[in-house]
C-alpha cells in the first residue's frame, strides 16, 4: 500500500483520518519533530559561537596531538557507531532480535569510547588552564592580534557549552540504547528504528561541531 507514495497527485484522502498520512507511526513522527527542535538548539549555539568568533580576536589553540588526533578518533567512533546502529535496525527489521541487540550493544560501546576520549580531551584543555570565562595566561599573549587586541576569554564558554551539550546527548543516547537493547524482544521494530534516529542525529550534530570547533581552530604554528 505504501507504493502509492509515488503517486503524482496529492492524495487528499490521506488527510481525512483513519490512516497515517506520513506512513510513519506517531512515535516516529514525534522523534522527527524532536530532532528538528534539537537541531535548532544546536544551530543556535553554533551560530552564537560563530557570532562571537567573528566579532572577536579568537584563539586557534588545537595542536595536532592530542586535540586533532583525539577528535578525529572520536569522529571515527561516532561514524562507526552509526553504522553498527544501522545494522542493528536492519537486523530488527528482519525480526532477528538477538543480532539487533548485539549490534546495539556495539553502538553503545562506540558511544562510550567517544565520551571517554572526549573527557580525556577536556582534561587536556582544563589542565592547560582553559576555563569557561578565562584563557590560560600564555594563550592571551600568544593569540593577541598584531595591533594588541586580546583574544576573547569566551573561548572556553563556547567550547565547553557546545561540546558539553553534545556529550550529554551521547550519554543520554547510550542510556536510551541500553534500555532498547534490554527490552528489544518486547519492543516493536519501529521503536528500535526510532532509537536509531536519535543516535544518528547525535552523530549528525558532531559532523558540524567537529569542523567548526576543532578544524577551524587548528594551531598551524605561525600566527
Amino acid at each position: 500500500m505504501s507504493t502509492e507514495a509515488r503517486a503524482p497527485h496529492f492524495p487528499a484522502a490521506d488527510w481525512d483520518g483513519g490512516v497515517f498520512p506520513y506512513r510513519v507511526g506517531h512515535r516516529k513522527l514525534g522523534m522527527w519533530l524532536f530532532i528538528v527542535s534539537d537541531s535548532l538548539t544546536f544551530s543556535a549555539l553554533l551560530i552564537g559561537y560563530s557570532y562571537l568568533r567573528a566579532s572577536n580576536v579568537w584563539p586557534t589553540p588545537f595542536p595536532f596531538y592530542p586535540s586533532i588526533v583525539f577528535s578525529s578518533v572520536m569522529t571515527f567512533c561516532l561514524l562507526s557507531s552509526s553504522l553498527t546502529m544501522v545494522f542493528g535496525v536492519s537486523a530488527s527489521s528482519r525480526g532477528d532480535q538477538a543480532k539487533a541487540r548485539k549490534w546495539i550493544l556495539a553502538t553503545i560501546v562506540f558511544g562510550l569510547a567517544f565520551i571517554i576520549l572526549h573527557l580525556i580531551e577536556w582534561n587536556h584543555l582544563y589542565s592547560e588552564g582553559v576555563r569557561p570565562f578565562s584563557l590560560p595566561a600564555e594563550w592571551v599573549t600568544r593569540y593577541a592580534a598584531p595591533d594588541g587586541t586580546l583574544p576573547s576569554p569566551l573561548f572556553g564558554a563556547t567550547f565547553f557549552t557546545i561540546t558539553g551539550l553534545h556529550m550529554f546527548h551521547v550519554f543520554t543516547g547510550a542510556i536510551y540504547l541500553g534500555v532498547v537493547a534490554a527490552r528489544v524482544k518486547k519492543l516493536k521494530h519501529e521503536d528500535v528504528e526510532i532509537s536509531g534516529l536519535y543516535w544518528h542525529f547525535v552523530d549528525l550534530v558532531w559532523m558540524f561541531v567537529f569542523p567548526l570547533i576543532y578544524i577551524m581552530s587548528v594551531d598551524v604554528g605561525a600566527h
Binding site: 500500500m1 522527527w32 569542523p211 578544524i215
Partner: protein, 118 residues
C-alpha cells in the same frame, strides 16, 4: 496491523550500501582534517568545511536516518522549515562584523590611510 507490513517494506537499503556510505563519510572527514593544515583564507576554508559538513549531514539523514525512503510529504514537512529557521539565524552576522570593527577604534596608533594622503 497493516502498519507492520509497511515497516518491513520501508527499511530499504543493503548492508553494502550502508558500508559504502560509512566509507564516504570517513573520506570526507579525512579531507576536512587535511584541509585544516593547508594554508588558505579563513572564509575559503569555512565555506569548504561547511559544504563538506552539509554533504555529510545529507548522507546521514538520507541513508542512515532513512529519510530518502520515507514519504515525500514527511520530508517536505521536516526539512524546508528547518533550513529556513537556520538561515533566519544568519540575521545576527552583520552585527557581529560591525562589533568587530568597533573594537579597533580603541587602538592608539593612527590608521594607515591617513599617512598615505600626505
Amino acid at each position: 496491523m497493516s502498519a507492520h507490513a509497511e515497516e518491513h517494506e520501508h527499511f530499504a537499503g543493503s548492508n553494502k550500501l550502508f558500508i559504502s556510505i560509512w566509507v564516504w563519510l570517513l573520506i570526507l572527514t579525512l579531507i576536512e582534517i587535511v584541509l585544516a593544515y593547508r594554508p588558505m583564507a579563513i572564509h575559503f576554508m569555512l565555506t569548504i568545511l561547511l559544504g563538506l559538513s552539509i554533504i555529510k549531514a545529507a548522507l546521514i539523514v538520507a541513508y542512515f536516518m532513512h529519510l530518502k525512503f520515507e514519504r515525500l510529504s514527511l520530508i517536505l514537512t521536516i526539512v524546508p522549515m528547518l533550513v529556513v529557521c537556520i538561515c533566519l539565524l544568519f540575521v545576527f552576522f552583520p552585527d557581529s562584523f560591525r562589533s568587530h570593527g568597533l573594537r579597533y577604534q580603541f587602538k592608539e596608533t593612527p590608521p594607515a590611510p591617513a599617512e598615505a594622503t600626505h
